[in-house]
Symmetry: C2
Subunit: 211 residues, 2 copies
């Protein structure tokens, strides 16, 4: 995934000569706490936050250029950068928004941390069921019922709880990857459980073939 | 993971009677775009943003209570809620910060979206190597070298690229889960690749045992 698939394209921009009161009204109307400052060619020249506007008001400043950050002092990403980069930078620099520029420095979007959260959590919200369906397709010659039966056996072995194949199927239809990794205690443990299930169905398939 | 493991504990609070100019200076000094409003017992009564402060300045308002949101109009979570809940709410309501309250309504923290991004991305940054180590441990009787050999074979089959067991080992030592799922095209595909590897090492183990 690229940055341009995760960014807000309905961003606002302001120019260095803009009046602070007007910018303040625009930011409030569009609910933007921070916004890129651009030149007449829409190229990134700076960044302004609502905290800077507040300071400007307190100190009697009139224009964006009196309170803005320079381009050199802010984090930015390119539209064809991997989305991962914006994720890492937001976490590292503790910023809420990151301007996205094209190769000629033109601002083409803003990555907002809640867009990142939405993208990351949509991955977490993949149903566990879909992972098992992919597994069924991969393991040729293993039926869905055999897969559910093996899953119930592995679950009984690991947790001591009596679970039927039917119970297991219901559970994975309702639970998500995010819930599963928090429930099993982490990514590795979740995968290891799946591998154990895979190992069991394969062993059973081999045993059946020998009969 | 609970909300209280992911929240900012160095938050600031303001009270409804506080002077807007002083609040504005505090928010700028602490770099807080939004902050909880509390009563004398530190219980949550509202929420104020730097955009509200701007509006207050424009309109000649003097106190926090003149521009704040009421408690009913904001999203909040409890300190013992699952961290997942804050993640989902930030994505759904598109908010940058969520106040965290205890059972008696006292504000005990603030979840910031970049804290969420950091937590989520640290999960993504798990080395793929660790997943293979967990797999080796799970698949009794399969050596690390056999696992790498099977991985190289599966990779060759799927991508057509000539990869040795050695190449493969180097690759997983350097790459993370986040990179791997973006590279393979999604969670299910990544996992299906692991299952294919598991299937192959098990088939080879069975074949060896028969000899």
């Amino acid at each position: 995934m690229k940055v341009n698939e995760m960014m807000d394209k309905n961003f606002i921009v302001v120019s260095p000569e803009d009046d602070l009161v007007e910018v303040s009204i625009l930011m409030e109307k569009k609910l933007r706490f921070t916004t890129p400052v651009v030149d007449s060619q829409k190229r990134l020249v700076g960044w302004i936050t609502s905290l800077d506007v507040n300071r400007g008001f307190r100190e009697g400043k009139k224009k964006v250029k009196d309170v803005m950050y320079a381009k050199e002092d802010i984090v930015h990403v390119h539209d064809d950068d991997p989305a991962r980069l914006a994720v890492l930078e937001a976490g590292e620099y503790k910023v809420f928004n990151i301007p996205v520029i094209s190769d000629d420095d033109v601002v083409v979007g803003v990555v907002r941390t809640f867009d990142i959260v939405k993208t990351l959590s949509s991955l977490y919200e993949v149903k566990v069921y879909k992972i098992f369906k992919a597994m069924e397709e991969e393991l040729k010659g293993v039926t869905w019922d055999e897969l559910m039966e093996a899953s119930a056996i592995v679950t009984r072995r690991r947790t001591g709880k009596r679970v039927t194949a039917n119970d297991y199927e219901k559970r994975i239809k309702n639970s998500t990857f995010g819930e599963a990794i928090w429930a099993t205690g982490g990514l590795e443990k979740f995968f290891v459980g799946l591998i154990a299930i895979g190992e069991l169905v394969i062993a059973r398939k081999v045993a059946k073939a020998r009969k």
